[in-house]
Symmetry: C2
Subunit: 384 residues, 2 copies
């Protein structure tokens, strides 16, 4: 079967943005089409990854609205939602649309507009994805992160500083990402002395609230060279779900969705964890970078923290993780994040990452919904 | 390529229901799995079609929640939204998941919980899918229906009674559907004398506000007989978008999304309009049944009303339309409707429609989002 190629990618400035969600979505979409020299009405399918435009802005039907704004009629449109992994779910839907033969040219745009709402309001919308039995006792996603971090540090004898070093590394990478919300370094002391949010995690262990969007253009590999000289292929992609009630999981330091989704993706790609050259992980909270790097098989369980301590995951390390700056410094506009992860891997595989460039023929993106409730793992390779 | 088969289907009682959306979704899902003798953990993908659980109920992440309720872990899950055509979009996503090889067993559940909100609140959520430039002047979906109906009656010299006869026909069909919200006949006089809502349309020209859910189980045709003796195949499916701003359309009596989506579906199936034996159309407003029956090529433009007058679309007519009772009598729980349309065609093609049974080897479902903003057409044939 023809593989699915990514022949164009874009992302907007992440941060505090003016305007409506549909304007943000159209901005990334237009950039992506322009980069590939494609008009809106060349598209056959158009997917929008977005969690909550209705809740954040009182606007629904945004896939239809954006098709209109991009002059993409009569392309088929739909919105894909899988909470904070909506972007990865959109990548999976866009992949399926091409792999099934339903579409020969699919645009995916992921985005979210959040900063016009207060932190309390945004948290309330996000917390509505958790089980009420946990939420009504005040256990929101940051609380889960704090509890899990404490367990991890205890279980694996990891120093608190190792978590802080994730933030330091990712902020350092973000300095070279012109689209990142925070393009500034932070030092270990700043992270370790920032205000406590969910003990032991502090302010700098958390990603910010962000507006932004990102887009990808996909087609069968057999026609990829019509759109781009350099392209990437999705050689493996898988999704998996974990319990909706987080406290039902046997071992809180194991992300089953990461393990299960990546097993599908590795098998499909015919690759193993040590074949991966660069990865974008969902560091909504610093602790998640450890858990994912272990769940993906990059490191043994309980050893992810050592990789950060030893610089293995630095940009010049053996396995660079979050060269984009990660959600931590780049920001986390829910529906955009999974798309922006794939954007970064695409930049790396096509040699377009500028000062962030690393040597890579294969890359992996892991997008997490909720507190690991749903996970999509995408493996990409440079086009031949 | 292996075709995609539907090997199980279910729908709940439509109407005013107690409980949460996730309970409604689980009810249809459990019934569908039980009918096919499948356990939740046999599933590879699980899609939920739903427009607005966040807005209606303050609950997001429902695909993950339902996977949990059905013991479907670690199946991949996502929510598909395309406003009132979310169900059809879900059918398309479920089809793609199997056709792409990503899943060998996919469950789709569509549902909506609406009646706990006032009509004004529900209308407000639904109207948020329209363009603000129209909505803020009070032009909601019922208004478009009234304006379009008036134009249609004028343009094609159709009698007002022909619209009422759609309601009479579909209510008559609904009497034999035990899941329908209204299982009672209405006579022409009752429709014609009901209160005006959007002149010339009256109360009985509109579908009700409804709670309910429906589900489908899909797999490659090559393994269909592992799950069911009688099954149906999706032999053609297509989606298309029309303008987001309704007043930009050249001819308000033509539904471009219907024309464009059905052209894709007919071509894929290798069938023509006169090959179709039975159809479920999206009669959210009576006028839409005329427009769709013409856009699908069943009748010439401006002639759809004559077919209803002449009984062609009656259950014992040449082309029965809405044997289920349609949205008009069955109800319209947004995310469920497109799934329930396919449920009805499945019942007809597998000979399981009981008193509603017609003679049919091929069937078609046409699900409409907004006021024709997005349309999905699905053509099905009895399995061999």
């Amino acid at each position: 079967m023809d593989r699915v190629a990514i022949v164009g990618a874009s992302m907007t400035q992440f941060g505090q943005r003016e305007g409506w969600i549909r304007e943000l979505l159209a901005e990334a979409g237009q950039d992506c089409l322009a980069n590939a020299g494609v008009d809106g009405d060349d598209l056959e399918h158009l997917y929008v990854s977005n969690m909550a435009s209705g809740e954040f802005e009182g606007q629904t039907g945004i896939a239809n609205a954006v098709a209109h704004d991009l002059d993409a009629l009569p392309a088929y449109t739909a919105r894909i939602d899988q909470t904070s992994s909506s972007g990865g779910a959109g990548v999976y839907s866009a992949w399926q649309s091409v792999a099934s033969g339903a579409s020969d040219l699919t645009l995916l745009i992921g985005g979210e507009k959040m900063t016009h709402r207060s932190t309390a309001e945004a948290t309330d919308v996000i917390a509505s994805l958790t089980h009420p039995a946990e939420y009504k006792h005040g256990v929101t996603l940051p609380s889960f992160a704090g509890l899990t971090a404490r367990r991890y540090l205890h279980e694996y004898d990891a120093p608190r500083e190792s978590l802080a070093k994730v933030a330091v590394k990712n902020h350092k990478n973000g300095v070279d990402n012109p689209h990142a919300q925070f393009q500034k370094e932070v030092d270990l002391e700043t992270v370790m002395e920032s205000p406590i949010v969910a003990d032991p995690l502090r302010l700098y262990d958390f990603c910010p609230i962000t507006d932004g969007s990102a887009a990808l253009l996909l087609c069968p590999e057999s026609v990829a060279d019509e759109y781009a000289d350099e392209y990437a292929v999705i050689s493996g992609i898988g999704g998996a779900t974990d319990t909706h009630v987080v406290h039902e999981r046997e071992d809180p330091t194991v992300m089953n969705g990461v393990v299960d989704s990546s097993a599908i993706a590795y098998e499909q790609a015919g690759l193993r964890p040590d074949d991966i050259d660069v990865a974008e992980l969902h560091d909504m909270f610093t602790i998640l970078e450890f858990l994912q790097s272990e769940g993906l098989g990059f490191f043994e369980q309980g050893e992810g923290w050592k990789a950060v301590e030893e610089g293995v995951t630095d940009r010049d390390g053996e396995l660079p993780i979050n060269t984009s700056g990660g959600l931590k410094s780049k920001g986390h506009p829910l529906g955009a994040s999974g798309v922006a992860q794939v954007y970064e891997i695409y930049q790396q595989l096509t040699g377009a990452a500028g000062p962030r460039q690393v040597e890579a023929d294969t890359g992996l993106a892991c997008n997490v919904g909720g507190f690991g409730n749903c996970v999509i793992t995408t493996i990409m390779e440079a086009g031949q």
